[in-house]
Amino acid sequence: MPDSQRIIEIEVLRYNPESDKEPHLEVYKVPFSDDMSVLQGAQYIKDHFDGSLTFRWSCRMAICGSCGMMINGIPKLSCETFLRDYFPNRIRIEAMANFPIEKDLVVDLSGFIEKLESIQPYIIPREPRSLDQGEYIQSPEQFNAYIQFTSCINCTLCYAACPQFGLNPDFIGPAAIALLHRYNMDSRDGAAAERMELVAAEEGVFNCSAVGYCSEVCPKHVDPANAVNINKTNAAKDYFLRFLSPKGGSK
């Protein structure tokens, strides 16, 4: 709850498909305190000024990945971005770029989810193991090879940052490639070759123009740009191998 009288102006991109032709900006004057996040600012507006303001949120602790939005033009998690850092200037919040807006700050994520599903994001065991054999053993090196790429919270900020995804919505994109790479690098998994087809496909890594903005905005240091890069190299290698072997390269 606000405990001081400071007021910040929050400009919100509003859009209701049932009554608006186009998105438009509205300004709200929100009393705030130092510990208030941008998300809490939006909640304040919903609770006090207009119950129809629509946005996704849940955990409030930067782990559920729901609350991404453009904050002064930069993709950020609104629950870990603070109003104090913008005051006394006006702050503008808008739906994440590059996605179709469904309503206000809510965008259509169905395409992103389909991409996640398409990369076979599960262990396809290299060597099946029964439960009574206990856990797989992974050395620190094997563990470190993939652990960074497990940290993705599916917030899609990297997609909002990606100019190529903006141009081609079919591009499988940073987070999905990072997840694919996560499974490929896991010593328990044996399906890297199967996933390679997708990497090298039309929607795959070669869309990337190496801008690197995705890694810059990633709140969890996943470094998806790095995953994309490594897979570009892998896919290029794979391409050559396919030429050499009539049965299709890396299988």
């Binding site: 405990d3 209701n16 498909p17 049932e18 009554s19 305190s33 130092d34 510990d35 919903k46 609770d47 006090h48 207009d50 119950g51 129809s52 629509t54 996704r56 849940s58 955990c59 409030r60 602790m61 930067a62 782990i63 559920c64 990945g65 729901s66 870990e80 469904e102 309503k103 809510v106 259509d108 989810i113 996640l116 599903e117 076979q120 994001p121 599960y122 262990i123 065991p125 193991r129 439960l131 206990g134 856990e135 797989y136 053993i137 992974q138 050395s139 620190p140 094997q142 563990f143 993939y146 652990i147 497990t150 940290s151 919270i153 599916n154 997840l179 499974y183 896991d186 328990r188 998994d189």
Partner: protein, 596 residues
């Protein structure tokens, strides 16, 4: 209205719901599964769990130890046969998760590592740094994509259960993106909607933790069991309630009051030692630690912070920056981002906040409710392993163990039954649609959702907090009745169909009011102190003669709930004094002596 015919419908895509979906799919790939969730599954609140999941791992540990820690920790209100099953399945399920790719933290030789947790005699908490729930949830979500028989209804909001011929036969859902209603028919219905702690003011919980499934089952005549037992977690961020995991203490963090004194030694948890010692001091159970905070505050020994209120310090400085980054990276980040402090250099101000609902939908050891065809699992359920106080890291394991149990039994049940009568189900679904459309389109309401929600949460904190008294609990019961009346006059600003969260928040508030009533009325009738239910008005002691019983709250339309009592299943552990620290060790010795 659209109709979807499934064999098993699961409401809830958190750890419990996903585990159940996989179990159904593996039991019989021909069964059609509908998995409904009001958020994309990986946003479910399981994602926020930090510390880890309990299961015997070390050669020095045993099922019997895990059993005794759990039953004693629950102040003997656990179903002991269910706990016996639970501790045996725990390591199997945790290993299964490893096979599915969960990145559990490991020892240098490549095996899964375990850490200490409050109230646990031996280190047995499997962890993935301090993002255990996050990794469990994403592993399950991603693994679930392997099974074509699982059809997800993401961002679909469940508003009713369908009941016909004495059994539960499906659910009514709203597609949030369009506002359209559908009916999902199924012969088995599994509720996995998570906890209800958001009925309180300061909590560790996400906005979605509103007790929906509990209220749905309750309105269909199923008892909510042991609802008075609500866990306060002792180490939370003031104001927001965000959690600093118990693993902070498992890794060696200490709690000090304004004099820099480790005050827990004054509350039967000592003596102090340099190294963390299981079941001593900071590694005591949560209820005791939160209660100690309360008394420190009464004694004027907490730190009074102008903005944060009364706090004590969680001190991690002696663990050093490198170790903190390795073991508690999320905690490190949270302290920096949300509080602007560096845990390697500054002590962290903390206080207790609401964290977990021990009670829930009453089910048997197969996770089956009294209404045929209905199952409940996870935090929304009361299968009987937490009793009056949950031990940290038992609930993530519960999701897996009982998610599987319910999935297997729901599959069996679905196969044993013929499909129901669609026409009669559809009629009910349409009635539900009408009722909710009326709520949305109604004009002239004057009560604001946010105001009622706030008054409810404040009143729950005042009456059903860490310590309770008859007069304040009564005030809460009265307040809730008043709010129930006022809710009828609610105003909803948003009249649109697409993504109408204003309307759905009102539906959630309606659920919350029911759940809050079940908690407050169960609490005021329990005239003793046990686990998380502590009284200061002449009922300070546990009373096994009258209250070694589960409370059961039954819904009464338009009125306060009816409270009944049920027996507690005791197998091998007779109620004893619940002691920790040196006294606990002595009691353990004696118990061993008498077994020999």
């Amino acid at each position: 209205m659209e109709i979807f015919k499934a064999d098993v419908v699961i409401v809830g895509g958190g750890g419990a719901g996903l585990r159940a979906a996989i179990a159904v799919a593996e039991t019989d790939p021909s069964l059609k599964i509908a998995l409904v969730s009001k958020v994309y599954p990986m946003r479910s609140h399981t994602v926020a769990a930090e510390g880890g999941a309990a299961g015997v791992k070390k050669p020095t540990d045993s099922y019997e130890y895990h059993f005794h820690d759990t039953v004693g920790g629950g102040d003997w209100l656990c179903e002991q046969d269910v706990v016996e099953y639970f501790v045996r399945q725990a390591p199997i399920e945790l290993t299964q998760l490893e096979h599915w790719g969960c990145p559990w933290s490991r020892t240098a030789d490549g095996h899964v590592n375990v850490r200490a947790f409050g109230g646990m005699k031996i280190e047995r908490t499997w962890f993935a740094a301090d993002k255990s729930g996050f990794h469990i949830l994403h592993t399950l979500f991603q693994t679930s994509m392997k099974y074509p028989s699982i059809k997800r209804f993401d961002e679909h909001f469940c508003v009713d259960l369908l009941e016909d011929e004495g059994r539960c036969q499906g659910v009514v859902v709203i597609e949030m993106g369009t506002g359209e209603f559908s009916m999902i028919e199924a012969r088995s219905v599994i509720i996995a909607t998570g906890g209800a702690g958001r009925v309180f003011r300061e909590s560790t919980l996400g906005g979605i933790v509103t007790g929906d499934g509990m209220a749905l089952a309750y309105r269909h005549g199923v008892a909510l069991r042991d609802m008075e037992f609500v866990q306060y977690h002792p180490t939370c961020m003031p104001v927001t309630g965000l959690l600093f995991t118990e693993a902070c203490r498992g890794e060696g963090g200490i709690l000090v009051n304004k004099d820099g004194y480790r005050y827990l030694q004054d509350y039967g948890l000592g003596p102090v030692s340099d190294k963390p010692k299981n079941k001593y001091m900071e590694l005591g159970p949560r209820d005791r630690l939160s209660q100690a905070f309360y008394f420190e505050q009464q004694k004027g020994r907490t730190i009074e912070h102008p903005r944060l209120g009364s706090v004590v310090h969680l001190d991690l400085r002696h663990l050093g920056e490198a170790y903190l980054h390795e073991r508690l990276p999320l905690i490190y980040e949270m302290a920096e981002t949300f509080m602007g402090l560096d845990p390697a250099k500054d002590p962290i101000p903390i206080r207790p906040a609401v964290h977990y609902t021990m009670g829930g939908i009453k089910v048997d050891g197969n996770c089956a409710a009294s209404l045929k065809g209905l199952y409940a699992i996870g935090e929304c359920a009361s299968v009987g392993i937490h009793g009056a106080n949950r031990l940290g890291s038992n609930s993530l394991t519960e999701l897996l163990v009982f998610g599987k149990v319910a999935g297997v039994d729901a599959a069996r049940n679905a196969k044993s039954l013929a499909p129901g009568k669609s026409a009669s189900l559809l009629k009910q679904a349409e009635a539900t649609e009408q009722r909710l459309m009326a709520l949305k389109t109604k004009t002239g309401g004057t009560e604001k959702i946010a105001v009622i929600r706030k008054e409810m949460a404040q009143s729950m904190e005042d009456g059903c907090g860490i310590y309770r008294m008859a007069n304040t609990m009564q005030a809460t019961c009265d307040k809730l009745s008043e709010l129930r009346e006022r809710f009828k006059n609610i105003s909803i600003d948003d009249k649109s169909s697409v993504w109408n969260t204003d309307w759905l928040t009102a539906v959630e508030l309606d659920y919350q009011l029911d759940v809050a009533q079940s908690m407050a009325h169960s609490a005021i009738r329990r005239k003793e102190s046990r686990g998380a239910h502590q009284r200061l008005d002449g009922f300070e002691l546990r009373d096994d003669v009258n209250y070694l019983k589960h409370s059961e709250a039954y819904y009464v339309a338009g009125d306060e709930p009816r409270i009944a009592y049920g027996d507690v299943k005791i197998t091998t552990s007779q109620p004893a004094e619940r002691v920790y620290g040196a006294a606990g060790e002595k009691a353990d010795q004696e118990r061993k002596g008498s077994h020999a």
